[in-house]
Symmetry: C2
Subunit: 784 residues, 2 copies
């Protein structure tokens, strides 16, 4: 590296640091062309300095190698609280002014840039969706590396530079993410360059990784399958030289790995390089404040100087700090970055802030989806045949995978076969670059089903893949999807914000298929029973979330086709894998799913003018409700019963609360304004109340659902334990239709006897009575 | 190891394996004293064989070293689906029959043991609370190691043998858990012996760790700070010998580490030993079934032979498999384990299944809690002074830590100081055994505040600590507690089940203090805003969950004192850290918190006969409601307004839904039966509807709360963005009290103007108007 190169890159770094400090502190006087006065400083200081100089350093050096090698690269920011750094760099590259023209490349633009940061009406303090070049909300730590890998999959020309903070490195998801290198195919995928930034401290304490003996630290990453390169120091010139050299080396290595895999036919897992950068936290900031060491300690985490308005010394120290970057050398008279510095950054879409990969929607291609109707199961009459819904869906997923060989992936915590989607393995394998042995089943570097026993990795890889403009599906046991509650939160928040950013193009929806659900955890028991992810999801903005509970195989096909085509949503689809009655033929299923909710006339008696409404949402509740209606039809043929099935759960909300919500008139037309409604729901019953409390007839809703009762037992025992079984539903009807109050005592007792008979049989035999799979009442009257 | 020793331990292993297979398959004929007939076999086969022989092997060998060295040990089962193994061992040790006398040590007892497993009315298939010796529900994988460390803290004489499955090892929480050795003090804490069991496969695919080159695998654990010992093989005799030798070695090493630390004064972090055991999955089970390899592959994960009722060949193979363990050598005529085998196991409380540590409640000592009243802030009149509630609480926590130096710990993801509980550091430090440097702040091997940037570790350590009979508190930013949603689920399920197990003694509650909450994330912005953990918690059984929203410092003291004394609950306490008006003096706070809900007369006008009720729950909503009431009092002095504050959120449910629920009469007395209720709530507003939908006056409830709007801005802008501000609340009142419909137009407009004035000021100045911290209307009328 020539002295001139070094000087230039140092100046670029100083410019980014200057702009970062300016954002945190300054309201005005952006180039310090007058002495710093109290009114130039923000009254409330909100931002994080500590990580920022390190991010700026790496960004500048990456710019250099991108230009030298014409690399296609993006920057994933683990320490996402370093928002000032990424905003500064997007501004220096010009991208910021291109997407936000009000923030121009002049003194006034600088003033706006500074003022807006962490300011009411301005921009957030973290690396948020508003920052060009970001694929990654910086709020919750732990997901940088898994997102980076997700971005690299099927992007063979891409280099994803991923800064992992040493705080973040303590989290579980990040700790698991290192093993993602066993799932990256150098022939087909891009490269991830992890850069572990050891600045040594979190908010208030040192980090674990920064306090390991050097050989232990290196062994850790060798053990994870990397070749670590350490760059350490606190002298800028030395670090510049070493970092530049190291980046040259790792880029050479990556190129060689890719060459061997792509033209050399090497199918083995390479040892990818990584960088460990050890520099002081808050580097170049105030060394001491009020007599206490700040630079190089946790005290530089947020704002090193807190009283810059009221305390003259603090303000003087801030001014000195800002001037230490020599802004007059960096910006010209108009306030624009000097051309020789501008030349440090790449141009056009080579700028990491302008790389279209980081605004994936602009690269998004429609998924090729075969006609889902062709996978339909034949339905002669409702409930006469049985299918395993997810197995039927497997055929469609298989063909989607085949038709989209470079932009669709399915992730799962080792449950694809268990969830009966194994048809996918007819056209692809599990992605696998670790060792193989004879007898291995569908493992290949070219596989496109990504299985690892970490819901965090499944979610994170898919998020990274979607955010960079591709499609996918996450199949998971229902109960354990809670493991990623918080990751879902961050993604839903990202989507909510991006909807209001005009230059962010819509991305493919995040699709969940939750199977092996609460009602069919009879194999695994209580710990595997939790339908509450839906409750978690519906707390997020109605604009971005959708929940579907298809009652049978054909409905599942129709719903999934819709979800795979959608954009900017999180779609949660819950469907069982066990044999389920086929209720609707394909055309009826499409019609029903398009409406999202509807009366099932064939299951009702006198549906036009009901005395009671039986509502249902979910495959198992639907079976129990249809069976309860059949029991009522047999024993009380005069009773007018309407069966309403809900596929699209958000139809139950009112139209003001959710775009799919029904008008009061439509809701009343389905559920009446005054008749009892017995509603059998897949999940926690309270959710139905929360969705419908504004509706006219809400006071007459009586909801059955999962009430945290269950163990390893039979399927029917599960519904009985939670009072969702057909006999209980009949009793609920008898208890709530006034005219039956006196006459139905005998039937009520028979239903209760039936429950006991089923319970006793189950406990004696260890299996269900055969009749409970069906909804039909046998001719000889099973209830006698 | 003598040949005799080897034969005896192999026989013990065979006995455990026999009992395991028997549990999975047999209804009757438990000792195969007649040929195996279809009716002897369960109709539905539910259980997991694959991991079981490995667990049995380790258990047998641990028994041996426990006896030889008189060790105090427990067994933590990572692959918790291996329920048959742990039940079998508890039975072999006699413990099972002691706690479940119906399952005796004879043929009939064996029949019951087998039949009950995964059978309706019987026991779960996983290592559940019903299994003596377990501290750890085996359902969701990932938490074994962190629980093991939690159990070892402050248990200096304890050895926690922790089997980590290689599937589980792929999860994030487990991956992060290895670093727990930087937090274990060999002088003060017990030892954890991690045993990574590489049986090579998950449900359907190989595991990552089993497919690494040996030197990479070892580097990984050296990098994590362990000394790995590998035992590998598929010949039982060889493995017995090597495993026995290895356990001797590691026990020696552990003893030497503890000696150096305890009498040698060595304060450095030791390199703890660990074992890597590589044996076939489903070892000793059917090698091939229907022509496909089963033993040593993922096909042995659940039931290797699936059709043992209907398929004679399968049944014959099952019989052969069972007989291969030579049950006649293991059990005597009566069906009891032969005495020479019984002697392999330790006796009394040295049996891992009978160790009281694994039934922690029996060891639980009451916490020494200083009188919380002595930490009270003085309150001359409601709202005249301000305190930082968590800082006030910090004094109590400090003294609790000092008074309980061996059985109380606080965990936090590096947020103790940020959450303003730093008073704790006056009496203790952060636990730290990694390297230190000059200038480090409160780091020590003896520290009792456990900080690591992993909510999973914070939760898991504390769970392990509580489950083994100690006390603690987890302080965390509110938004990120969702990271442990799923861990909370598993713990709440454990508590629910243990309440019905008479021999399980109650344990200390799991206490959460959630601070830096949604309304004061003005520093960090949208990604840090999520009050939904409460929603998640209230889906669990009412018996085990409690939620508190103390409105001020004195109420927080009273609530926390209550939580720290409680048993078998999960207590969620949400409290801000920013200056908050002191509403109640200590005596009033105690009275209010004891009731959990109540009318605040001093904030009301005509509270006895209100025209409108203002409800509030949470510190920020309380401030806004009291301020709204003051505005109403100033401008509409005739309006009768009742202010109701809720501390104990579960008071809002009805008495049938939650033990804390109010009767209808009490609820009506507070909220009337027909007056409008404007309710300002800390979290998502729908939760209040879900809790109150059964109450008479529910249709008149109008709830304001967090609606997913926010960014980095001022505190007041946050409440405005979500329509929870005092001016909006006044408007809500005006819109809902019928007699005001016509007269209040001017006031309504003034309130709307106030909102705009505040918004504009905030956006100009970057800070709040000074008056919004107060609830009082200035004499000159701030609204003009």
């Amino acid at each position: 590296m020539s002295e001139e190169d070094l000087a230039r890159i140092d100046a670029y770094w100083r410019a980014a640091n200057y702009l970062s400090v300016g954002q945190i502190y300054l309201l005005d006087n952006p180039l310090l062309r007058e002495p710093l006065a109290p009114e130039h400083v923000k009254p409330r200081l909100l931002g994080h300095w500590g990580t920022t100089p390190g991010l700026n350093l790496l960004y500048a050096h990456l710019n250099r190698v991108i230009r030298e090698r014409d690399l296609d690269a993006i920057f994933v920011t683990g320490p996402g609280h370093g928002g000032p750094a990424l905003v500064a760099n997007a501004y220096l590259e010009g991208t910021y002014s291109e997407v936000y023209p009000a923030v121009g490349q002049d003194v006034d633009g600088l003033r706006r840039l500074f003022r807006q940061f962490s300011f009411p009406g301005g921009i957030p303090s973290h690396v948020a969706p508003e920052v060009p070049g970001s694929i990654h909300e910086g709020g919750e730590l732990g997901y940088a590396l898994v997102h980076a890998f997700g971005a690299a999959f099927d992007n063979p020309d891409l280099l994803v530079a991923c800064v992992v903070g040493d705080g973040e490195a303590e989290t579980g998801p990040l700790a698991a993410s290192w093993h993602s290198n066993k799932f990256l195919n150098p022939a087909r995928d891009g490269a991830v360059l992890p850069i572990l930034h050891l600045n040594g401290y979190k908010i208030a304490a040192p980090t674990v990784l920064a306090r390991l003996p050097e050989e232990e630290l290196e062994a850790l990453f060798v053990g994870h399958g990397y070749r670590p390169y350490v760059v350490a120091g606190d002298d800028p010139a030395t670090v510049h030289r070493e970092l530049a050299l190291t980046l040259e080396t790792v880029c050479d290595e990556i190129a060689e790995i890719q060459r061997r895999a792509r033209t050399g036919g090497d199918r083995t897992r390479p040892r990818w390089p990584m960088v460990i950068l050890r520099t002081p936290k808050g580097w170049t900031g105030p060394s001491e404040v009020d007599g206490r060491q700040v630079e190089g300690t946790w005290r530089s985490h947020q704002v090193p100087l807190a009283e810059t308005r009221s305390d003259e010394n603090h303000r003087a120290q801030l001014e000195q700090w800002l001037r230490s970057y020599r802004p007059e050398e960096l910006f010209d008279e108009t306030g624009a970055l000097r051309p020789e510095l501008r030349a440090v950054a790449p141009s056009g879409t080579r700028r990491m802030s302008a790389n279209p990969v980081a605004n994936g929607g602009v690269l998004l291609k429609d998924l090729a989806i075969p006609d889902f109707r062709s996978y339909a199961v034949k339905v002669a009459a409702p409930g006469e045949s049985f299918s395993e819904p997810t197995r039927v869906l497997g055929g469609l997923i298989r063909d989607v995978m085949a038709a989209n060989p470079t932009n669709f992936r399915m992730t799962s915590p080792d449950e694809t076969a268990s969830n009966r989607l194994a048809a996918a393995f007819e056209v692809t394998d599990r992605t696998w670059l670790a060792e193989t042995v004879d007898g291995d089943d569908h493992l290949s570097p070219d596989g496109r089903v990504m299985e690892v026993l970490s819901e965090h990795l499944c979610q994170g890889w898919l998020e990274g893949y979607l955010l960079t403009g591709r499609h996918g599906l996450f199949n998971c046991y229902e109960a354990f999807i809670h493991i990623v509650d918080s990751m879902f939160n961050q993604h839903a928040k990202w989507l909510k914000v991006t909807r209001d950013i005009p230059w962010r193009a819509p991305i493919a929806s995040l699709n969940y298929l939750l199977s092996s659900h609460v009602w069919r955890q009879d194999h695994n028991g209580f710990s595997h029973q939790d339908p509450g992810f839906i409750d978690h999801v519906v707390n997020k903005k109605a604009d971005v979330i959708r929940v579907y509970l298809p009652p049978d195989a054909n409905c599942l096909l129709s719903v999934m086709d819709h979800c795979l085509r959608s954009r900017n949503y999180v779609n949660v689809v819950v469907s069982g894998k066990q044999p389920t009655p086929d209720w609707l033929d394909m055309e009826s299923a499409i019609e029903h799913c398009t409406r999202g909710i509807g009366v099932w006339d064939w299951a009702s008696v006198g549906a036009d003018d009901p005395e009671v409404v039986l509502g249902c949402a979910g495959d198992v509740p639907t079976l129990e409700v249809v069976a309860a209606a059949a029991l009522l039809g047999r024993h009380l043929p005069d009773l007018r019963v309407r069966v309403v099935n809900v596929v699209d759960l958000m139809r139950l909300q009112d139209e003001h609360s959710h775009p799919h919500g029904l008008s009061s008139r439509d809701f009343d037309a389905l559920f009446t304004t005054d008749k009892p409604v017995i509603f059998a729901y897949h999940g926690y019953p309270w959710l139905i109340h929360r969705l419908t409390y504004r509706q006219t007839n809400h006071d007459n809703f009586h909801v059955r659902g999962y009430i945290e009762e269950g163990t390893t037992t039979t399927p029917f025992d599960m519904v009985m334990l939670n009072n969702l079984d057909r006999f209980q539903l009949v009793v609920d009807v008898l208890d709530r239709v006034p005219r039956l109050a006196e006459s139905a005592g005998v039937l009520r007792q028979r239903m209760l006897d039936e429950r006991i008979r089923h319970r006793a049989w189950t406990r004696d035999h260890g299996e269900d009575l055969p009749d409970v799979r069906s909804w039909q009442v046998p001719d000889d009257d099973a209830t006698s």
